[in-house]
C-alpha cells in the first residue's frame, strides 16, 4: 500500500501528455515573479497566486494583457510573447496545481 502511494507520487512528477509537459515548461519561466508552481513565495506578495486559479480565468486574463484590454506594468509586454495554444497550455497547467 505504502509502495503504491509512493509510486503514484513519483509518477505524478512526470507529465502525462504533451500539453501538460508544454504547460509545465512554459509555466516554469513565470515562477521568477509568481513563485514555484504558481504558489507565492511570501505572505505579502503583491501578485495573486496562479496555482489552482480557474483555467478559463487565467487564459482570458493572459489574452486581455496581450491584446491591451487589461492595463499592466509588465504583463502586457510579456503576454505578447505567447500564442493562443501556449496560453491554453499554461492556463491548464496552473489550474491543475494545488494552491
Amino acid at each position: 500500500m505504502r509502495f503504491l502511494v509512493l509510486a503514484a507520487a513519483a509518477l505524478a512528477a512526470i507529465p502525462a501528455t504533451a500539453q501538460e509537459l508544454q504547460g509545465r515548461n512554459l509555466a516554469a519561466a513565470c515562477s521568477i515573479c509568481h513563485g514555484t508552481e504558481g504558489r507565492s513565495a511570501t505572505n505579502d506578495s503583491p501578485l495573486i497566486p496562479l496555482a489552482g486559479l480557474p483555467r478559463d480565468h487565467i487564459a482570458t486574463q493572459m489574452r486581455a494583457f496581450r491584446d491591451g484590454k487589461r492595463p499592466a506594468t509588465v504583463m502586457h509586454q510579456i503576454a505578447k510573447g505567447y500564442s493562443d495554444p501556449q496560453i491554453e497550455a499554461l492556463a491548464a497547467w496552473f489550474a491543475a496545481q494545488k494552491r
Binding site: 515573479c33 509586454q77 505578447k80 510573447g81
Partner: protein
Amino acid sequence: MKRREFLKFAGATAGASSLASLAGCASAVPSKARVVVVGGGFGGATAAKYIRLWDPSLDVVLVERESAFTSCPISNLVLAGYSSMQEISHGYDALRRHGVQVVQDEAVAIDAQRRVVRLGRGDDISYERLVVSPGIDFNFGEIQGFEAAMNSGRVLHAWKAGAQTVALRRQLEQMRDGGVYVLSIPLAPYRCPPGPYERASMVAAYFKQAKPRSKVLVLDANPDVTSKGGLFKAAWKDLYPGILEYRGNAKAIGVDPATMTVKLEVEDVRGDVLNVVPPHRAGDIAQKAGLITTNNRWCDVDWRTMESKAAPGIHVLGDATLSAPAMPKSGSMANNHAKIAAAAIVEILGGRTPAPMQILNTCYSFVSQKEAIRVSSVHAWDEKDRTLKTVPGSGGVSAARTEAEGTYAWNWARTIWADSLG
C-alpha cells in the same frame, strides 16, 4: 593540475574513492550521482531543485564552495544602506529538503571523457550528466595595476556580492563629504547590463541623503548607457543633478592606488573611492574544463538543452554562456537557463527527446530607495537560426520609474530567491 595528470589520477584512485565511501568517510561525499551540478548560484541551485521536482528518482549532487548564496541583485541597495548582507544571503538547507545532496567544496577539475568531477579535498564524483554554472571571473590583466590594488583592499569591483560588497559599503561610509566615488564599467557583454547604472543611482541616493557635497562619476567603456538608458538618464536628471556625472567612451586601462587615479586612454581621473569593474569571462572551472569556446571568454551551448558545444554531457548555464541574441547576463536568465537544462536532463535520462523551451527575462533596477525601472523579454527557439531569439512584438521597459515598480522589484527578488533556493 594538468589535464593528463588528472586523467591518470582519476583512473588510479577510482577504486580507492569507492572504498572510502563504503567505509563511511566523514566527508560523506558520494562517489557517483546521476546528475552533478557545479555552482550554487541562480543557475546551479535552480537546476538542482528543478531536476528533483521534475524527476524525484534522479539523485542530484550540488557542489558549491560557499556555505550560503549571496545575491548580486539587491546588493547595490546594501551599498546605499537600504538592504543588508543578511537579507541577500540564503543558505542551502531548502535544497537539501528537496533531496539535493549539497557538498561544500570547490570543483577543481572536470574529466569530460570519464565523466568525473574532482573536488578540492581530493574526492571524485562520477556523473551521467553534469551541469556547470560557474558564474564569472575577471580578466584582471586588462586593467593595469588592478589586481594588486584589489588585493591590498584599496580598489574594489564588488561585482560578485560578498566580502567586497561589505568593504565597498565601508569605503563609502568612511569617505569625506565632498569626495568623489568613481565607477568604471567594462565594455559589454558583462554580468547584469543595468547593474552599474543602478549602482551609480544607489550611491548617488546615499550621497544625497548623507554626504550632499559628494559626487558620483561614472566612467563607461561603452558609448552610452547599455540598458534602460532613457529611464536611467531621466532619473539622474530629476533626482541627482550636480551629484551624478556620466561619461561614455571612457574605458579604464589602469589604476594607481597610490594616487587614487583611474587611467583612461587619454587622461587620468582622481577619486576618493575607486570602484573598477574589470572585463569578465566564464568562471575559472569552465576555463579549466575546456568549456570556453568563444573569444577566450564565453561558453557556447545548444539553446534547446544548454549542452556545451565543447563537451557532450555537460550543460553550461548563466553568465558564463555565450549569450543568445538580445539575451542579457542576468539572474532571471540563469534561473531560466536552469529550467531548460533541468527539463532536457530529465527527458534525456528518461530515454526521451527534449523539446525546445520558451523562456523569459525580467530585470528590475532601483533608481532611488523606493522607485524602480524594469526591462523584460521573451526568448523562443528559432529553428532556422538554431538559437533562442526574442519573440517579435514582446518585451520592453517600464513606462516610467514608480514606487509600484519598486514593490514589484522586491517581489521579484524574494520570489526568485525562493524559486532558486527555497
